[in-house]
Symmetry: D3
Subunit: 247 residues, 6 copies
Amino acid sequence: MNFIARPSGRAPDQLREVRIERAFTRHAEGSVLVSFGDTRVLCTASVENRVPGFLRGKGEGWVTAEYGMLPRATHTRSDREAARGKQGGRTLEIQRLIGRSLRACVDRGLLGERTITLDCDVLQADGGTRTAAITGAYVALVDAVQGLLDSRAIKPPSCNRQPIVGAVAAVSVGIYRGVPVLDLDYAEDSDCDTDMNVVMNDGGGFIELQGTAEGHAFRRDELDALLALADSGCTQLFAAQREALAR
Amino acid sequence: MNFIARPSGRAPDQLREVRIERAFTRHAEGSVLVSFGDTRVLCTASVENRVPGFLRGKGEGWVTAEYGMLPRATHTRSDREAARGKQGGRTLEIQRLIGRSLRACVDRGLLGERTITLDCDVLQADGGTRTAAITGAYVALVDAVQGLLDSRAIKPPSCNRQPIVGAVAAVSVGIYRGVPVLDLDYAEDSDCDTDMNVVMNDGGGFIELQGTAEGHAFRRDELDALLALADSGCTQLFAAQREALAR
Amino acid sequence: MNFIARPSGRAPDQLREVRIERAFTRHAEGSVLVSFGDTRVLCTASVENRVPGFLRGKGEGWVTAEYGMLPRATHTRSDREAARGKQGGRTLEIQRLIGRSLRACVDRGLLGERTITLDCDVLQADGGTRTAAITGAYVALVDAVQGLLDSRAIKPPSCNRQPIVGAVAAVSVGIYRGVPVLDLDYAEDSDCDTDMNVVMNDGGGFIELQGTAEGHAFRRDELDALLALADSGCTQLFAAQREALAR
Amino acid sequence: MNFIARPSGRAPDQLREVRIERAFTRHAEGSVLVSFGDTRVLCTASVENRVPGFLRGKGEGWVTAEYGMLPRATHTRSDREAARGKQGGRTLEIQRLIGRSLRACVDRGLLGERTITLDCDVLQADGGTRTAAITGAYVALVDAVQGLLDSRAIKPPSCNRQPIVGAVAAVSVGIYRGVPVLDLDYAEDSDCDTDMNVVMNDGGGFIELQGTAEGHAFRRDELDALLALADSGCTQLFAAQREALAR
Amino acid sequence: MNFIARPSGRAPDQLREVRIERAFTRHAEGSVLVSFGDTRVLCTASVENRVPGFLRGKGEGWVTAEYGMLPRATHTRSDREAARGKQGGRTLEIQRLIGRSLRACVDRGLLGERTITLDCDVLQADGGTRTAAITGAYVALVDAVQGLLDSRAIKPPSCNRQPIVGAVAAVSVGIYRGVPVLDLDYAEDSDCDTDMNVVMNDGGGFIELQGTAEGHAFRRDELDALLALADSGCTQLFAAQREALAR
Amino acid sequence: MNFIARPSGRAPDQLREVRIERAFTRHAEGSVLVSFGDTRVLCTASVENRVPGFLRGKGEGWVTAEYGMLPRATHTRSDREAARGKQGGRTLEIQRLIGRSLRACVDRGLLGERTITLDCDVLQADGGTRTAAITGAYVALVDAVQGLLDSRAIKPPSCNRQPIVGAVAAVSVGIYRGVPVLDLDYAEDSDCDTDMNVVMNDGGGFIELQGTAEGHAFRRDELDALLALADSGCTQLFAAQREALAR
């Protein structure tokens, strides 16, 4: 791997410090403050005893997500979406991604007719808010499902089926000044050629890949390097999730 | 004062624990996490070098506020206003109140053509979010103005004029089970006859009074008792603000 | 009381001429054109046999209000809210105030599952539109409830319970050039330090207090003077309501 | 003409009582309360010293209209468009018609870069609100233009050019139970086969024709009868306008 | 008829080339691409087994229309209404017209509780989009109803009642440089004094007349000439519809 | 490659029939009807002499896209986004993807301060609308840029710089019943485990990768197979684009 000076001084394959703080607020069934360095996202999981219309009467549950950014989470203040009267395309795109990613780790047939909503609100942004959100929302989701199990609202898992079928984590990778790097911060993200968000499960499978060439198109060998970095980053994130859940 | 069992066990004239944590996030010119017990509001002050149309070219500044509640700040999840496509009446009412209250402590002629926006986002709600927001936003505003003074963006205050002309704090009071009490939490707020939000300055003057009889109308003597409680509560809040700013 | 030249030549404690004209339009169950001097508000009460979702099946009724201002009710034309696509914060704040105030005079348990909507539309504005609206809407509400009683849609009141539990009226007070005055018109309102809207019932109780210091904060003795003026103003308004209802 | 029992007892070619009350409110440059029987519309003309973007810099003026219906102008309460967040198709259609009709009587080159907005708000509806609105708005427009002439804001008319180039009035006609009738009220409008709104100028020319067959299609001879009725109705309306303007 | 040079070289009473192409897309129950010269509108008829609330339980059907224009159907790109967040007044006016016109040719009692929605989307505009839309939507509607008959979803027509009670077509007429002309194209439409859209049935009756004097008001004799042209135009359009349906 | 019965009978690595029809409508600077089998998308390129605010005065151009689906492009009618009052998340996501993809093939510095908007409207949907849209929009963009070159609005390309820096095409790939397949149609798309949209340039570089595991997560070897299929598909699409442009 080439020599490169990342703005943060990190090695190319080095994550930022990851912190996962459970029970950050007290009303939600799951509430996690996740930090990837200076990026801090509050992820809450809310359980409601109803499902969207298209699932009514089918006996299965739903998992969905909403994403927001506090107006001054960023370097300069951005408009409050509630005041503008609509969520922007970026917001909708991210919350759809979070929802799909988390649905990939749930056996919805075991949830009963319940909706679990994952609200991911960015308190402070420094790049990688969507990957931090997915990684933290997983922990909030596990706490919410555990609550349902503890209260016997849903049946305890058998050896064959469990409501949570695997862990999900996400990380960004990109090519910064010609070098593939892991977990881009804002300084890198705003000055890189290519970035990709990778959502994986702890079985090593890919759940979502979203790569964008902002500068020049990326070659196949670059893609391979990025995927390897993502794989190593997610492995570390799964460990951080397990550790947080064990506390 | 009558005997009364407040759900929290507090004395009728007792505030909840007040905490004011400065520099909670790092991008905003002022960033305060204020807690009144379990009510936690993130107040950021953002400085922008422009003013609304009606002030353009007049050489004076503007102070305004926006208010939001994270969907799961409350006991049950409420809709995200950005997703619903509009801010509700309660939100607009509160943010107008916060804006008016903070403008009351600023000499806008000394700000230059700048807007300071106070974003008050409720991370966790347990009653009194608007009074906590005003109390915390004052501290964020002072930090933002101090930053302008430090960078010489605005002239240093003279003995005659200072950009911040006094402190502002707010507290709720109400009649709970027949007894006037200070700083209602959610359990009291949802079960009280009358509640009033009082915004004061540190000269003992009233900036805003908003009293509502939810059950029976309140008599003049009850009003007097409530105002006395509010006065004593604000005195303690001014001390907490001064202490936080001195740190 | 100090000498003061009010723009209208009124004494400090003098209301504008109050007129309450019932049956101004013919479709609504109650229809009142109320005038506080040049401020003219059309208040209609509409009865519908349904309640909002949160009351369904509880056997009680609902009273709510909507407020609007014709675009050219004011000195310069303002945008039509329907064309702008949303009601402004001031509108929402006022209609919430009107709704709360009128609910304070109704025993909703006697209404049955009905909603009474009070539409208050300002035909001409000269200050005090919300207080005129509340004062007039009360009369429209009484007419609508009387219609329900006359048609036996709701049971006749017993000595213990009546659907209308008391009268409600509202008036503004303020400090104009240092002197507390009653019932501010537009010229005073746009040039005063403090103004307060006071909603009272005819038992002398306060239903709503909304005081705002636009210039300097108001002292406790000023507040006392304002409350005394409001009390005297509401007493006159209750008389005007009774007289209108007796016609 | 066949024998027919109109619900109101009117002869087939008889207008409802028409009243045109000028200066109904005091802020607008023109303010007319027009009544066609129980249909009552407040028409105000507001002059502003600006034009829409597409006319900027061209030295000519603009005339436009907005239409609204108070929620309880009708037999049953309809939603407030400002609260629903948009104007309905019927509202937009009507205000476009009013705007086009009034522009047809103005020499916009003589107005200078000014916009005259005609706000037509229905206080009470009993059929024919758009035709009453056009007929009344014409009078409000004349008053507003006369004010501009009186204040010398626009040049006095020469023998060749005047800002108002002719009168405009409108009336509805329809086929009610097989008989062509003039000026339909609500009872007729909701039970007729065909209705047509006709806007004419006082030179006998047609400005707008909007005919709709609600039941069966109308034949050419029916159309001819309707046009003759409309012509006679407008003649009476022009007289009423002239009389009102002469007062 | 006077000599006149129409921009297209057509005779005053000459339609543009009319083409009606059925089954243009394959999902809709009826799908017609109609061309009036360079004006091309895709009209689809969609059948759904539900009716609007006001018809529920009445056993009859509903026919409605929606209209749209692709952003670059016109000479210069216009905003996409979906992106602007609302349909303009012109759009709403046109789709209401199309819906009323098509309802005039259907016996809704024979449709059962079904809604047929006619989506008319303009791919290319050169004047007369609403008349082309009505003319084409009729053919799509016939195909959709025939499908319902073929599948026995609705009862086969008896000699007394058929679901389609007659044909509907529409054409524009106008006075271009003093001469009444048929089927205005864009060059004529943007430079004519008067234009009128006429919707007729094949029994010679008028369903809708919408005439607007854009320049000077039109006289009765001009109206008569326009109606005669429209009658002749619609006769040709009925032939084109029949021919398309026979293919 | 395994044996597999694709619903269409195609081989796993076989594209649907691709047709690219230029000049489909006549007003736009580029107008292409692209078909991938039964998926038909009208792509127009519109040139306007203005740029968004963030680019004003920088001397470079902008390329953006909007996407829409006619309500009955699909098997069952979907709501018209203009009528619902907002574009859905899927629409916004797709149009952002199209815009980014096309910007990747343009040297915006050579466009001057112009915006080229690519409107991609789906006339008929059978899976793969976004990939067809990108492939067709490229051809429309080339036509629009050629028009600017032909009219000397922008400078002719030198050997070093050309406004179009390469071709862009897109195709979907997925794992259908365990087998990697190219260019999914609707029947496959709604029943597959994984699908990925791949945007490439004709230098073999990746511009966008968007892969989603709908059923089980995909392994690295599956990803490799999909990327190989996409590469082969894009190669064929570049040939089809070149052929269409040569006509």
